[in-house]
């Protein structure tokens, strides 16, 4: 016979109590699902993204939600693995029926696209700025909360062409899909802008010893060197060796290597390091930025650039949902994307310094920032640059 001890009974009672105390999920909640990399190689970004999305939804819900409907964030960790991301997607779709979704990688965005189109229930954005995804015909239900990688290069090249017409430029990228993404298209763009691409260096992912590559770079003596496809290593190694050899090239990066805390880890080497950033930094108090003030109020400690990316993505998704409901339409992939594309000269509350529009799958806006080692901050080096689409 089954006999329950007193302790066992207590545990059962506790479990029953816990089950009863689960907060009810309202049926008309709008759900933002997420495959978020909270562990693994991309965890630094995932943690920021999760906080950014959660904070924005808190602001929205505290203000009464979207037409009285709360927006709920249902996410799980993916460890930045595609199969785990797809598992999370399937789980959240089955349990929560999301209308909005945040994906963690280019590979995931590509993998899930057929399913996204088949179900037609949601729009998706994510951590990928891959050029390939910036094609509304191939990826009709996806978007990205910023410029794609080719557009990031476009912004950098535009800046270079203005600062030093006819400058010599070198590209250094990792041998990954991420790294190779903008190289071929940007080379053409550079020529159009009257710049000379004097060297293209490809390094294996995770390479540490870059001495031969630095020698190659020195021989071509570029005025500007653009790194892409790295988060940090081997950028510091490159810069250290190049400076030792007396190179005068300026070094630049793209979104994922531009977080302030990462850049400042380079110490003195970071001096003069530049790059493209579509968002304002956490500490930026210039101009009218009520959202940044609110973020600083909610979280007194520094928040990373992935946080801003998550925050803005949630903002655009909620805006799309709001516009769809305002029109009295049901929330589906098609209606949400149409509403998203109707966003024109939208004020992000200062997250991006100029009003933005989302005519296609990307927001081709950014600004050049430069590391100031004394202040330990990234400071603006240009005004906001908008690329025509």
């Amino acid at each position: 016979m089954l006999r329950l001890s007193r302790r066992g009974l207590g545990a059962l009672a506790l479990a029953a109590g816990m089950a009863a105390a689960v907060p009810a999920k309202a049926a008309d909640d709008i759900v933002l699902g997420g495959s978020i990399p909270m562990t693994g190689v991309f965890a630094f970004a995932g943690i920021g993204i999760q906080a950014g999305i959660s904070d924005y939804l808190k602001i929205v819900n505290d203000a009464g939600g979207v037409k009285g409907r709360k927006v709920r964030f249902a996410f799980e960790d993916t460890a930045y693995k595609v199969d785990a991301s797809v598992a999370v997607f399937n789980k959240i779709v089955a349990q929560d029926k999301p209308n909005l979704y945040y994906g963690d990688s280019t590979a995931f965005s590509k993998t899930i696209n057929p399913e996204l189109e088949r179900s037609g229930q949601m729009i998706m954005a994510g951590a990928s700025f891959a050029t390939e995804l910036n094609d509304p015909k191939k990826y009709p239900l996806q978007f990205m909360a910023g410029p794609d990688y080719t557009e990031m290069f476009g912004i950098l090249l535009r800046y270079i062409a203005k600062e030093k017409p006819g400058a010599k430029v070198a590209f250094v990228n990792s041998d990954t899909e991420f790294g190779r993404d903008p190289i071929a298209t940007s080379e053409k763009k550079a020529v159009e802008l009257g710049l000379k691409v004097v060297e293209k260096i490809v390094t294996p992912p995770g390479s540490v010893d870059v001495s031969t590559e630095v020698l190659k770079l020195r021989r071509s003596a570029p005025d500007y060197t653009i790194f892409h496809g790295y988060v940090m290593a081997p950028i510091p190694e490159f810069i250290a060796q190049a400076k030792q050899m007396g190179m005068t090239s300026k070094f630049m990066g793209t979104f994922w290597s531009m977080d302030n805390s990462m850049v400042q880890k380079m110490g003195e080497l970071a001096d003069g390091f530049m790059g493209v950033m579509p968002y304002r930094y956490y500490y930026d108090e210039d101009g009218n930025a009520p959202m940044l003030a609110k973020i600083r109020q909610m979280r007194p400690e520094y928040q990373s650039t992935p946080y801003m990316q998550g925050f803005l993505t949630a903002m655009l998704m909620v805006e799309a949902a709001k516009r769809t409901l305002d029109k009295g339409e049901p929330l589906t992939g098609k209606t949400l994307k149409a509403a998203l594309n109707s966003i024109k000269d939208f004020d992000t509350g200062g997250i991006i310094g100029v009003p933005i529009s989302v005519p296609g799958n990307s927001i081709p806006v950014g600004r050049i920032y430069k590391a100031d080692v004394q202040k330990k901050l990234m400071v603006p080096a240009s005004d906001w640059i908008k690329l025509e689409q």
């Binding site: 689960v22 909270m38 960790d77 797809v86 399937n90 349990q95 590979a107 993998t111 057929p114």
Partner: protein
């Protein structure tokens, strides 16, 4: 209590199932597998398919490493060969789905044999290192043979079609992947009732003695590589239809280590080991997530705080199994069975 099953002929001694009870349980298992997708949501159907694909590939590696004693770290790369073959055939030629899978398996087998050649000279860890070369060389080929593989951006695969139905959801694919897995497992189990399979075991136990007994080492080792890679190729082909996009980064070296870990955790040199190991390695991280899911309604930050803990727990579980059960999950399964056989007496 069952005392023993008397065997009166060689045929019964070799049989896959040695009693009617076992056959009955196997029938129950098949029935449960058939009913499973109707009782669960898309998430569990997805996991079942993923586990089945991993079971096929792990069983392939088990043939090579567990039964023939040749350690390989190239399994994921051979899966890649199968996946790319299937992707190219499906996207460019549109040949039938099952034929693509077969050709994917054959292509992987051919490539596997080439990378198996060093096994004639080197063994153990040295062979493991030389099979890593497969991983790097094939990755390079996938990334740079752009006219065929479309380079780093990879190939999008149209859904598999069978009898005019697009197999585009885990639920539909389940009906292809799981039966194929069962068939391939039965194939592997039967292999070791034949001369070829026994030759593998002889080579594993002592290759010199095997040669003295008249087993040609060259042919046997390469056959083992070919068969193992065939399994990997078919698993890779199913993977391609399942994820619908194949890129050079889809099959990293880490994935090969995953399969090696799966057969070690499951139990090398037993068919059941490959199954249990692959299922364990695929499902336990997901089950640990359920734990996080249970507490998150009360503690919204649970996923943030517990995610790193989860990976540590998974790692600790693997170490724990290796320390306390070096024979793998199979041995635990056998012990459980023995307990019921001998009940109410103790083992």
């Amino acid at each position: 209590m069952r005392i023993a099953s008397a065997k009166e002929s060689y045929a019964t001694d070799e049989a896959l199932f040695d009693s009617a009870v076992q056959r009955a349980w196997f029938a129950v298992l098949l029935l449960a597998l058939a009913l499973f997708p109707f009782t669960v949501n898309q998430y569990w159907a997805y996991l079942a398919c993923l586990a089945a694909i991993n079971v096929i590939s792990a069983t392939g590696l088990n043939i090579l490493t567990g039964y023939t004693g040749l350690v390989s770290l190239g399994q994921a790369a051979f899966m890649g060969v199968g996946a790319y073959t299937v992707a190219v055939l499906e996207a460019r030629l549109g040949t039938p789905f099952l034929l693509n899978l077969l050709l994917g398996g054959c292509m992987a087998a051919a490539v596997g044999m080439v990378f198996g050649i060093p096994s004639l000279r080197v063994k153990g860890l040295y062979l493991a290192i030389s099979t890593i070369a497969a991983s790097f060389i094939l990755h390079f080929v996938f990334a740079n043979w752009t006219s065929v593989t479309k380079g780093v951006s990879g190939i999008n695969v149209p859904p598999a079609r069978l009898f005019g139905i697009d197999l585009d959801t885990p639920f539909k694919l389940y009906w292809v992947i799981v039966p194929l897995a069962v068939l391939m497992l039965l194939g592997a189990a039967n292999l070791f009732r034949t001369r070829v399979g026994r030759a593998f075991i002889a080579v594993r136990d002592r290759d010199i003695s095997a040669e003295v007994l008249g087993i040609p080492l060259l042919r046997t080792k390469l056959t083992s590589f070919a068969l193992s890679s065939f399994y990997a190729g078919v698993a890779g082909g199913l993977w391609a239809y399942f994820f619908r996009v194949v890129t050079p980064e889809s099959f990293p070296l880490l994935m090969s280590i995953f399969f090696l870990a799966a057969i070690i955790v499951g139990g090398m040199g037993t068919i059941l080991g490959g199954i249990l190991g692959a299922v364990f390695m695929t499902l336990v991280p997901e089950l640990l997530k359920l734990g996080v899911g249970v507490v998150s309604p009360f503690w919204p930050e649970a996923a943030v705080v517990l995610s790193p803990v989860r990976t540590v727990v998974f790692g600790a579980l693997i170490v724990g199994f290796l320390v306390f059960e070096p024979q793998g999950l199979t041995e635990m399964w056998r012990r459980t069975r023995r307990f019921f056989h001998l009940w109410p007496f103790k083992t």
